[in-house]
């Protein structure tokens, strides 16, 4: 049979074409730089780091630079309301730890990562690489990244 040329009906609806476009979006092209703190730093220092770096989520690592926890603004605000001296409390006391940490990888679909953020009601996922002894943090994927991707979907149109 001769190949058909030119335009013809592809059998796809608008939604299918949309879906095809969205499934091309991969975490590696959209994530931000991670901001990490050691699990021995104080809550006070973590809050200072959060303001200096202007991020909403910090990732906590051990002395081998492997992921052991996550700190959200909400976690830090809750801790700051307590009566303790924040300089005396190490972050590992208040952080979210395994197995509760949700992660993603560079080659994951942005859609799947977005779904994880929504289902787990969290603001950010660490982008990780699995090592023999644990997870190395190589990125930070946030609702801001998803919102930017959403806006850029149309900007690529022009």
């Amino acid at each position: 049979a001769r190949p058909r040329v030119g335009y013809f009906y592809t059998g796809k609806t608008g939604f299918e074409l949309l879906s095809d476009q969205l499934k091309k979006l991969i975490v590696r092209h959209h994530h931000s730089v991670p901001v990490v703190v050691n699990d021995q730093v104080s809550v006070y220092d973590a809050i200072t780091t959060m303001f200096l770096e202007d991020v909403g989520t910090l990732f906590v690592v051990n002395d081998h630079s492997l992921l052991v926890g996550v700190l959200s603004r909400k976690d830090l605000l809750r801790a700051s309301m307590g009566n303790q001296d924040l300089s005396d409390v190490p972050v590992h006391i208040i952080m979210t730890r395994n197995p509760k940490i949700k992660v993603c990888e560079k080659d994951d679909l942005l859609l799947d990562a977005a779904n994880k953020l929504i289902e787990n009601q969290i603001d950010a996922l660490p982008v990780v690489i699995e090592r023999e002894d644990g997870l190395e943090v190589v990125g930070r994927l946030t609702k801001t990244n998803i919102t930017k991707a959403f806006v850029e979907l149309v900007k690529e149109d022009v």
Copy 2:
């Protein structure tokens, strides 16, 4: 001329179709319920409200229920790091106020609202109705709403 029936080339690319779909998304179908506090409540009470309602942004209204300010988790965390007694500080001291407040309306495109969130580096916009004497708050549009809309773009496909 006889109307053409069946499928034919619309002259649109995948990106144009995508863009068409995205431009159908309107703020009114995606926003959340607003959580408001009076401008005389203390920072302490505002933080308590934020936790009870589990939101990242509070809108501040005056005695006529008109919008006068916005409080983010970041604003409250910053205030909590100071040396003041949070029960003694009214929120109007620390809130973001006009003309710095960014708003959206129910009939705005979700894309335009998303763009405002990104450009102004904020987490939420109040959805407002303009009254003679000011702005009435009728909703809250957040990066979570945008992330949900992003995920649902593909779910509607099935």
